[in-house]
Amino acid sequence: MTDLCGAEWIKLWSLRSTPIGLGLAVALALYLAGSNSMHGTLLRSGSMGPIDPIRAAFDGPSWVLPMIGTGMIGAQSMVGEYASGLIRTTLIAVPGRRRVVAAKVLVIAAVMAATALLAAVGGLALAVATANGDSRGRSLTDSASASASLHAIEASVLLLPVCALIGMAVGTLLRHAAATGFTVCALLGFGPLLLRPDGNRWATDVANVMPYYAWGRLTSAGPGAGSTVTAGVAWCILAAWAALSIVITTVVLNRRDV
């Protein structure tokens, strides 16, 4: 198994797009956390108001691009193998296909979790450092805020691996680069724009099970913060996306000809 993980690690990092994508995702999250914290947010009245560091670091729209980026890297890890034909060599070398998927999932999830940790902790630190006025440093001293920041960091560390696994499942199902890219963007990026948890019953229910809003519920900062879903259910939603994606990837890869 360590050999399989080693092989997947080499495959992941031999692509130029991996460090570029992850680097951009972290840079964007850090930049936006600082920028949101310094400039505040546009209030309903149209003026710019001061903003809580947690809200600045875990602002929903700022995390959509990192979500898409990790989803794409996850998707590329399957689609790229099909496109180059490497999948055949891999499966000849290791006929136990489930073990290949397990190794891939482990490597991708670990890398994405590390990326998310960097983006979340760095973003929060930057947001605290650049906050103006009375909100400066509040989230690290006050115990309620400290636990809220911890929850937000945990939720984000779960969010990016989930997005990558969703990408992997979509990539395994479609196997075509452009179709996969389009579907991942539509699912992770456009879905939350199209269906918001403030519409009618049906739209609200669908929106609540999206990773974006489940994560927003857990960070208690982004959109979905005021949702009727409890924190436990939101954790379960994210876990269910991960589990479902792993099952789809395993079953489809196991069943289908390569």
Binding site: P61, V64, L65, A177, F182, F190, L194
Partner: protein, 266 residues
């Protein structure tokens, strides 16, 4: 030894025919168009179906925002951009671009023919989506709001602009495909540039409303009068500037595609 015969140079109509065969022979062309039209129809029905207008209040509603909804047409535009991006990046990833340029060394003519075919296909797609969307929304709104018919000037204008929006989207997608040449990279960039980035910039946390104002979808909203009533909507460009924006997106995309493909190694 064969001597070149007079008139052996490929005529422009031959290039257009070749590009048409390329578009026609891909299954994804049909899938994408059917999906887009179905999406427009379902969205129009969904948006129109939930409208309840109090008696006598109909004059306060703009019926155009149901068939020509901002989110629906952003999606249609991105779908078109995906089509455009694939038209270029697909040739690079399959290697067909080399055969094409060996057959026709004048690359800008190939790009012109390709743009013409892609634009025509997308115009047909846009017109179908636009008309289907309007009639479905009209049916869903019956009894609540009326006026969705092509005989009205403002509706015809919105329908025509909505049919043209996918053309611009596809040409932008072609430029992105020429710059990035990798299908996944090109498709995610198209999404990013046309939908996700404007949304991020317009969400107010960065305060770059000016950048959102320059997007094709903003120009479309300004010209077709399809902006949603909202407590803090982004400012829209003026009519003249909106026409200028649409024209610049179109011409700049064409110029980018042509310049990149001509300059770079195939």
């Amino acid at each position: 030894m064969s001597t070149p015969t007079k008139g052996s140079r490929a005529r422009f109509s031959d290039l257009v025919a070749a590009e048409w065969i390329k578009v026609r022979s891909l299954r994804s062309t049909y899938g994408l168009m059917v999906f887009g039209i179905a999406f427009a129809a379902v969205a129009a029905w969904w948006l129109g179906h939930h409208v309840k207008v109090a008696p006598g209040a109909a004059s306060g509603f703009n019926p155009l925002i149901y068939p020509y909804n901002q989110d629906t047409w952003s999606f249609i535009t991105v779908l078109a951009a995906t089509f455009g991006a694939l038209a270029i990046s697909g040739e690079y990833s399959s290697g067909l671009i080399r055969a094409t340029f060996i057959a026709v060394p004048a690359r800008h003519r190939v790009i012109l023919a390709k743009s013409l075919v892609v634009a025509t296909v997308m115009a047909v797609f846009g017109a179908l989506s636009s008309v289907v969307s309007m009639y479905v929304a009209g049916a869903a709104l019956s009894g609540q709001l009326s006026g969705l018919s092509l005989s009205r000037g403002d509706v015809l204008r919105a329908a025509a602009l909505s049919a043209a929006l996918p053309v611009i989207g596809a040409l932008v997608g072609m430029a992105i495909g020429a710059l990035i040449r990798h299908p996944v990279g090109a498709v995610s960039t198209a999404w990013g540039v046309l939908v996700l980035l404007p949304n991020l910039l317009g969400s107010g946390t960065i305060g770059l409303g000016k950048a959102v104002e320059a997007m094709p979808i903003s120009a479309w909203m300004a010209l077709a009068d399809t902006s949603q009533p909202s407590p803090h909507s982004n400012p829209l460009p003026t009519t003249v500037f909106a026409w200028f924006l649409l024209a610049s997106w179109l011409l700049l995309s064409l110029a980018t595609t042509s310049a990149t493909v001509v300059r770079r190694d195939a």
